[in-house]
Symmetry: C2
Subunit: 191 residues, 2 copies
DNA sequence: TTCATTTCTTACCTTTAGTGAACGAGTTGG
DNA sequence: CCAACTCGTTCACTAAAGGTAAGAAATGAA
């Protein structure tokens, strides 16, 4: 569990034993039950998440309907928008499966960053990577039809299709649950 | 021109005269003619851009068709994906209007960042802000219909609708030019 | 187990987007 | 000046997505 985190970090920076111990002393690991709501709309929070095991999702409540816009699984970090803006959250974050997370307060993060400039560097590189990756995802979304987007997902993240309820996948793909159902039927007919 | 850049940077960090002079000595300002292609698909590049005046766009060439996915106008920074990955570019970057840009090589950037840790901090904050903002944009895109997306754009970026050709706006909105044309006709009928 | 709730699928109809073709307006280059 | 091109719009047609409703299947809790 600790090693999963350290292995991930070592892709960006090298950690001394001392630094590892400081990290461990912060006691950031959390075991979270399926269905737990980590962040509610309107709430202010300073917590960022890093998924060691399991899956969390962000969703909006629009006209009484849940609209799921993102999933975060093993080794993926999530810093909610409200942590950056220090404003009330626009969306919910909840736990899709029993999960193990690293939960870090932005104050703790800032302290670590000033104590160990290395961490600042890691955060910068990570943000830049995530930004560039998300740009590509967005581009692909814009230039594809719903059917293509589903087929892409089937290629790139087959695990998501297995572990996530269809109606949540649907809004993630930007369509209605019924449309996803139809689309799947259409695809399996073709083959 | 220099002041536009310094004003922008001062939102994140405070600059000494010495730092300003080092920046100026790098001679990063470029005047670029409309239609200039700054980056081609397949090309490797280390250049990031910051728009002081004008507008640049990113687009893909898919089956002989241009698919515009993003516009960058005054005070918006663009670090192409290929600069991060050091791989050939997936897309083109071109200049939509006669523009004034800050163009910075990532080597120069790295040098500045190690000489002035402040810059590193600024880059981190900027990346985090951009990432969070882009997440919201993506979420809004996913949860809206093409018509809603157009109306949103009309609210948030009315300037874009004026300065950008319709067919480029269309792919930016994830639809065909004909659909945008229809959609606009539909909207003006309603009123 | 049973009951209730959630989730997924299907069917029918409406609305909207994709496609291919055609048109006129405006530009550019010879 | 005209030919070629680009751009935005419109049309007719096709394909797909949205909305509503009903029912089957799966899940969870008592």
């Amino acid at each position: 569990m600790e090693n999963t985190l350290f292995d991930f970090m070592s892709k960006y920076i090298s950690l001394t034993e001392e630094e590892k111990n400081v990290l461990l002393s912060l006691d950031l690991f959390r075991s979270v039950k399926k269905g737990t709501i980590l962040l509610k709309e309107g709430q202010r929070s300073k917590d960022s998440y890093f998924v060691l095991k399991g899956c969390i999702r962000t969703y909006y409540m629009i006209e009484g309907e849940e609209k799921t816009t993102a999933f975060f699984t093993e080794l993926e970090p999530l810093t909610p928008h409200c942590v950056i803006t220090k404003a009330p959250s626009e969306y919910f974050v909840s736990c899709l499966e029993d999960s193990i997370l690293v939960v870090a307060d932005s104050d703790t993060g800032a302290e670590m960053n000033s104590k160990f400039p290395k961490f600042d560097l890691m955060c910068r590189i990570l943000s830049e990577e995530l930004l560039a990756k998300q740009q590509l995802d967005f581009d692909e979304f814009k230039t594809s039809s719903p059917e293509q987007r589903y087929l892409n997902l089937l290629q790139k993240r087959p695990d998501l299709i297995q572990r996530v309820p269809q109606h949540q996948l649907a809004s993630f793909l930007g369509i209605q649950p019924q449309s996803l159902s139809r689309l799947r039927a259409r695809i399996s007919e073709k083959k």
